[in-house]
């Protein structure tokens, strides 16, 4: 079967990484202790050569840098929008689909770091905007930061199925989002509208009383509708949503759907749409728990067809990941 092999860092300045150095490269067969080329995913550079040229050593990994917090907007007690000033080069690198950073307070060790998606980019202010939901220890630690915060990045694997979004031009994309998970969809909208793609966003406000992201989507030219998509009590899709999908699939020529919710939400909508239209491709937000972001700790591993995938670095096909036999 077709192997969906893709490492988001391949060919970047962070490649080859420690995985390559230890013979565990996601892409290169020469660096998996096989001694011949079997290169399924090519991004323009030979990882084997890069490693040799670098003295058989991994490139330097990303490091935490202390950054200024410009503003904190409190939406709710447990829902905050941070504006953080970062260097110009990091800003440019984060202006990409799926971008995220690790954040932590300056006072605590590295394992406090938690991945947060970039919602928006502001070049004038030289800042990134992030929507943060306060959950547990790590995010509470962030909440305590008021002036300075530690930022590590850039990371790009916050969206899975990026090959379906990359190089998209003059196409139509439907974004289905719910709550905080809808935030990375803003950056997707920003990038895709630059290439004359039509973005239709359907947002479920989740447990909030309003859709926090709506204004950001609108700013970048998305057509936004607010609707309740899912009944969480019995884990079903609402009738309103089903009607909406029926209409939109008839009316619009949708090429790709981005599922921007939690795993339950993503699974429900992807399967629902897939049985109705098999030609639509899916992207999804990456909901894995991550700790290092470098493919080392293993906390982000998901299993797909018996294979372990380090989802902080490696791409998978969301349809394959969320697919259930009967489609529900």
């Amino acid at each position: 079967m077709y192997k969906f092999v893709e490492c988001i860092d391949a060919g970047s300045e962070y490649c080859p990484c420690h995985l390559a150095e230890k013979g565990e490269c996601i892409i290169c067969s020469q660096l998996q202790n096989k001694v011949f080329c079997d290169c399924l995913y090519w991004k323009g550079t030979c990882i084997y050569e890069e490693l040799l040229k670098n003295g058989n050593k991994a490139k330097k990994t990303r490091q935490y840098k202390k950054c200024d917090i410009i503003a904190i907007e409190k939406i709710r007690d447990d829902l905050l929008i941070y504006d953080i000033r970062v260097s110009n080069s990091l800003l440019r690198e984060l202006d990409n689909i799926g971008a995220y950073v690790f954040l932590k307070s300056p006072n605590f060790p590295d394992y406090f770091g938690t991945p947060i998606s970039i919602m928006d980019i502001n070049y004038e202010q030289q800042s990134i905007k992030l929507l943060i939901k306060i959950h547990g220890i790590k995010t509470k630690d962030i909440k305590d930061c008021n002036e300075k915060i530690m930022v590590k990045g850039p990371y790009w694997n916050g969206i899975q199925g990026q090959r379906f979004l990359r190089n998209l031009k003059d196409k139509s994309v439907l974004i289905l989002g719910r709550g905080v998970a809808a935030a990375p969809g803003v950056l997707v909208t920003r990038r895709l509208t630059l290439n004359n793609n039509k973005i239709i966003a359907l947002l479920d406000k989740g447990r909030s009383d309003k859709n926090i992201c709506t204004d950001y989507y609108t700013k970048y030219g998305a057509e936004v509708n607010n609707l309740s998509i899912i009944n969480y009590k019995d884990k079903t899709l609402t009738d309103d949503f089903k009607k909406y999908i029926k209409d939109i699939l008839e009316k619009e020529n949708i090429d790709v759907v981005l599922a921007a919710g939690d795993d339950e939400f993503n699974s429900l909508i992807i399967n629902y749409i897939h049985v109705r239209r098999t030609d639509i491709c899916f992207a999804s937000v990456n909901n894995s728990i991550m700790c290092c972001g470098e493919g080392i700790c293993g906390s982000c591993i998901v299993k797909l067809s018996g294979k372990e995938i380090r989802s902080c670095k490696q791409q998978y096909n969301p349809l394959e990941y969320y697919y259930v036999e009967d489609g529900k």
Binding site: Q30, F36, D38, Y41, W42, C46, Y48, E49
Partner: protein
């Protein structure tokens, strides 16, 4: 609709596609770069020694299409250089466009800049191939002619690194062994010293960067020969070489240039500083590989086990030709094996058994001989070509070598296979 998918558009793939089309199939040819002919864009030598016989045999068998084009693109006819007689040199700067037009005019569909990366196999049958975009391409029968060159990682591990050859891996992505992806282990060629792979044996200089005297001689005679300075003679380099027909002592002691549009230099690589010390070479620069001062491409790391109908052993519907099908060196060899692969692929579609070429023809004999010898001790260190080394000796010994077209024609007629490659099967 009967549908043949050819992967790799070098000489072997072009020959296979043309043959399958002539037999009446619907043909799709997939090529990773923006050009057909692969290594054929940097070669050019035809009809030297036994290749003359092979070319004429194939023409008598009805596979004259590519030879007609090559003859039209020939710059020099019947020249001589050390160890080689009656060689033709085609113009590498124009040949691709001619072959490409011919193939497209025949109605063969070609996908350029498209890399095949995986296969869908069921019960020893390939159902489809996948492109690196993830697109699935279904087919009834497949022909793999992806060659054996590179890619970068192999050139690094078994050679002196990427030298930026015509296959342009960084730009179009690396070659992939389709048969291996389908579960059939590759066979690997070796060098004399037992290391895997072998290095391409010639490079191209920009003719305009040579002195007027050398240019004139190349343009009129097709050949220019001068001595390698005593201190630069390096016979060790010969051992690494693919082209054993050019691994003669003369090729270490002499600089031999052939006019194929560029000036073909008959050695794997040559440090630029040293080359520029020669008279008339003061301004010289490499055109292929771009880093010809440092290295050349590594080949023969990816051959599929096959039978003598060119079918891959272990798969029901995969055929191979060219370097993918054995330790064959050369355009002529690629055209011979590719043509047979194309023909038998269509026969298999019709439920017919594949044919073998008779061993009383050198084209049939080389296919069988390579297969047998490859399995013997040291067989993987040999290369098989009509143009020289051991196989040309064998041709002479078995009386398979002749330059008399009449004899070849009569032989083919007596075998009752005149023009079989012109037959429509579907």
């Amino acid at each position: 609709m009967m549908n043949v998918v050819v992967i790799g558009g070098g000489w072997a793939g072009c020959a296979a596609a043309i043959q399958a089309k002539k037999c009446g199939a619907d043909v799709l040819l997939i090529e990773r770069t923006d050009m057909l002919l692969g290594l054929g864009n940097v070669g050019g030598i035809m009809r030297n020694n036994g290749r003359y016989t092979a070319a004429e045999e194939l023409i008598a068998l009805g596979a004259d299409d590519l030879f007609n084009i090559i003859d039209r693109c020939t710059r020099h006819k019947s020249i001589e250089f050390p160890g080689h007689k009656h060689a033709d040199l085609y113009d590498v700067t124009i040949i691709e466009a001619h072959v490409r037009r011919y193939i497209l005019d025949m109605g063969i569909r070609v996908l350029f800049e498209t890399r095949v990366v995986d296969v869908d196999v069921e019960d020893k049958k390939i159902k489809a191939v996948f492109l690196d975009s993830g697109t699935r391409i279904d087919g009834d029968v497949f022909i793999e002619t992806t060659g054996s060159t590179g890619p970068m990682g192999n050139c690094i591990r078994y050679g002196k690194g990427c030298s930026m050859c015509i296959l342009r891996c960084p730009a179009y992505g690396p070659r992939i062994s389709i048969s291996q992806r389908a579960g059939v282990e590759d066979i690997l060629g070796m060098r004399d010293d037992g290391v895997f792979g072998a290095m391409s044996g010639s490079c191209k200089l920009d003719k305009d960067s040579l002195s007027k005297e050398i240019r004139d001689e190349l343009n009129t005679k097709g050949v220019y020969i001068t001595d390698v300075p005593q201190e630069d003679i390096n016979p060790e380099k010969l051992k690494m070489k693919v082209c054993q027909q050019y691994a003669l002592k003369e090729f270490a002691e002499k600089i031999i240039l052939l006019d194929t549009g560029h000036a073909k230099l008959m050695t794997s690589y040559y440090p630029l500083e040293k080359l520029r010390k020669l008279k008339g070479f003061e301004n010289v620069r490499f055109i292929d590989p771009y880093a010809g001062g440092k290295a050349n491409s590594i080949r023969y790391l990816s051959m599929a086990p096959r039978n003598d109908t060119m079918k891959v052993i272990g798969l029901d519907n995969l055929y191979v030709g060219g370097e993918k099908s054995g330790l064959f060196v050369g355009h002529t060899e690629a055209i011979v094996t590719g043509t047979l692969a194309g023909y038998n692929a269509v026969r298999s579609l019709m439920g017919l058994n594949g044919i073998e070429l008779p061993v009383s023809l050198c084209t049939g004999d080389i296919i069988k001989y390579e297969n047998e010898t490859k399995r013997k001790k040291d067989g993987l260190k040999k290369r098989y070509t009509f143009a020289g080394s051991e196989y040309f000796e064998r041709m002479k010994k078995l009386n398979l070598y002749t330059t008399d077209k009449e004899i070849i024609n009569k032989k083919v007629e007596a075998l009752m296979i005149k023009d079989i490659f012109k037959q429509k099967l579907i």
